[in-house]
């Protein structure tokens, strides 16, 4: 059971927003947890050598953090039935300042019969959208 009553929801309704602060430490932690040790995510010299604007956050870290907005709304990570994103722009993580990604979620579609709600996420870094077509299907 969930605390959300599907009949009370409206398309366009905001479900929440969060600010994620990624530092180089966050990237190292994600590398270890996920097993993605591509060194463009922690070495400035390598990032520079392959022509990147700097060390980048793993796209999968941004994806994994962004969905928490929907998870916190529904209260149970197990209710995320389907989740997709397109990686449109990189998140450059400064060695000192890190990077702040703002994520917000809105209800985009309500399927009352199957008790599935589609939440669309918006994720921005420096006022630029970094995830495209970020859609979460939540089982209520």
């Amino acid at each position: 059971m969930t605390h959300i009553n599907i009949a009370s929801l409206e398309v366009g309704q905001e479900i929440g927003k969060q600010e994620f602060w990624f530092t180089r430490d966050s990237l190292v932690r994600y590398a270890g947890a996920s097993g993605d040790f591509n060194n463009i995510h922690y070495r400035d010299d390598v990032a520079q050598a392959v022509g990147l604007p700097g060390v980048l956050a793993h796209g999968m870290l941004t994806m994994g953090a962004a969905v928490q907005v929907a998870v916190d709304w529904v209260g149970d990570a197990g209710r995320i039935a389907d989740y997709q994103v397109r990686f449109t722009k990189p998140v450059v993580v400064d060695a000192r300042e890190g990077a702040v990604v703002l994520v917000s979620g809105k209800i985009a579609e309500i399927d009352a019969e199957n008790k599935i709600v589609r939440v669309d996420l918006t994720a921005t870094f420096n006022d630029t959208t970094v995830l495209g077509k970020a859609q979460v299907r939540v089982r209520l």
Binding site: R29, G32, G64, V71, I80, Q84, F87
Partner: protein
């Protein structure tokens, strides 16, 4: 360039991956989850799960094991240093639970050419020990062409 003939190629199932409780917690902290289902056994059990469940993107860890095989396949000709992650999707039949033993089977769903780059889409099906489908992970990699 990526060999277009690998479209439709299937790779054999990986060795079983045992999902550990602490691995889930480690991953949950890394993606900044504070959801009790990912962290607290009692909360997860109260919600009807056998143990803590993994965050929605945890399946990437399993997908990665299949992808490694493809990236090492000389027939596919994918040069890892030229790879950029284009998009990603996870379709869950049920959440991944601590204690699960999972295997993955990967198929190259499509290989497309777009302005000197290749776009390769992989479909990885993740099964539990009962051979029930747990998650389908779909990933598109953009492989930049040589300058």
């Amino acid at each position: 360039m990526v060999n277009p003939n690998v479209q439709g190629k299937k790779y054999p199932a990986t060795q079983p991956y045992l999902v550990g409780r602490e691995k889930i917690r480690e991953f949950a902290h890394a993606v900044k989850s504070t959801n009790p289902m990912n962290l607290d056994v009692f909360a997860a059990q109260a919600a009807g799960y056998d143990d803590i469940i993994a965050p929605p993107t945890f399946a990437v860890v399993i997908q990665e094991r299949s992808l490694t095989t493809v990236l090492a396949d000389p027939e596919a000709g994918i040069e890892f240093s030229r790879v950029v992650h284009g998009d990603q999707r996870f379709i869950h039949e049920r959440p991944i639970v601590a204690g699960d033993e999972l295997v993955s089977e990967l198929e190259v769903a499509s290989v497309k050419s777009l302005g000197g780059n290749s776009m390769v889409t992989f479909e990885t099906k993740i099964f539990d020990v009962n051979k029930d489908l747990v998650c389908t992970a779909i990933s598109t990699l953009v492989v930049r062409g040589a300058e």
